[in-house]
Symmetry: C2
Subunit: 190 residues, 2 copies
DNA sequence: AGCAGAACTTGTCAGTGGCAAGTTAGAATG
DNA sequence: CATTCTAACTTGCCACTGACAAGTTCTGCT
């Protein structure tokens, strides 16, 4: 018995294969035909599920925003503060670097996709909730909106730099621990 | 008289065209053949100057690091502090978004290129000098190395998010002003 | 003057994304 | 159970791309 005509779970399989390929060689090197080969289907099969390459990457990005929201909700559910949320952001980026690599590159995505927009706003809400924690803990009158953007920036920047390998090697090889140290100065009252 | 056989300034022309194309459509959509057409040369001409696509992007990244170092040196020369250096970082990213888009994507580059390494370390030194300013102003015992990474992270994160269009629209349309507000909390003694 | 090498061209190949048209399987409906 | 409808997939094709090989034209140096 060879492969059945219907794969049965092609969409998920392709997304997983894409994540793996991107993790190894970056989004630019991604080939739909290569994914199809890995999944054992014809070269045109991916188009059926995703329309085109941007469609596949958009689905991956949406999945990424959902995973990020999950991560942030989880740290909040376990009573973590902003600092923990920040570390969670970095943990997500490192654990799902393929998703992360695609989420903030609008040129690669279908910006109008409703699923992407939904996932994005879910993640945004989770981020907002984490920032609300900050506002409670530190009432010294700083604009909450700005404070949230500061937190997002430092965490996003650290994750990006870590993944790009630009950070100095003496930081060690534990991204979460390093992130905690680098992020802390933003929140520590001095 | 038609075009001379020798273009005369092809290398620079190609880099400029590449920057323009990337600014408009991102690095993924870049085509060497399209650049060649825009420059009025044959499709194989770019390979002569850059070897391959990664070579061209590497040259662009190196140019970017040099421009960044210039920018940072400039703010330092005019007596700016860390905050100004941070704003300068953002100014560079926005003014040269194509360079910036390529500089931190190792998969697209020849990591072994000596010119790239040289430009990178020049920028790194300029960044270090800016951070040294911070250490003088704020001697409350924070690890200088960590403080530098915090500053780099927040600035890099802001620039990345701004360029990706992920930041909320109510921040206004002046990236430097917005950056100053978002970065300030890291440095302001509270 | 002549020559070495740099700058560029022409030709070609395998690989890619996207489209159109066909085929198969499975699910719903009678 | 037979029919039909549609989603899931295939085959075939085209224009385009990056890379390489081999040839041509120009420039600078001796």
């Amino acid at each position: 018995m060879t492969r059945p005509y219907h794969h049965g779970d092609l969409r998920r399989t392709l997304l997983a294969a894409a994540a793996e390929a991107i993790t190894e060689h970056g989004p630019a090197a991604l080939s739909l035909r290569d994914l199809a080969r890995r999944a054992g289907v014809s070269h045109a099969a991916p188009a059926h599920h995703f329309g085109d390459k941007a469609g596949l990457l958009t689905a991956l990005a949406a999945e990424g925003f959902t995973l990020l929201a999950d991560e942030l909700d989880r740290t909040r559910a376990t009573g973590g503060g902003v600092l923990d949320a920040g570390v969670g952001y970095v943990r997500f980026a490192v654990a799902h670097r393929a998703h992360f690599a695609v989420m903030f590159q609008p040129e690669l995505l279908n910006r109008t996709d409703p699923e992407l927009a939904a996932a994005e706003s879910r993640a945004s809400a989770a981020l907002g909730a984490a920032v609300a924690t900050l506002r409670d803990a530190d009432r010294r009158g700083a604009d909450a909106r700005i404070a949230g953007l500061s937190a997002w920036s430092i965490v996003h920047g650290f994750a990006t730099l870590w993944l790009s390998g630009a950070l100095p090697g003496d930081l060690g090889d534990d991204p979460e621990e390093a992130a905690r140290q680098v992020i802390r100065p933003l929140f520590a009252a001095r």
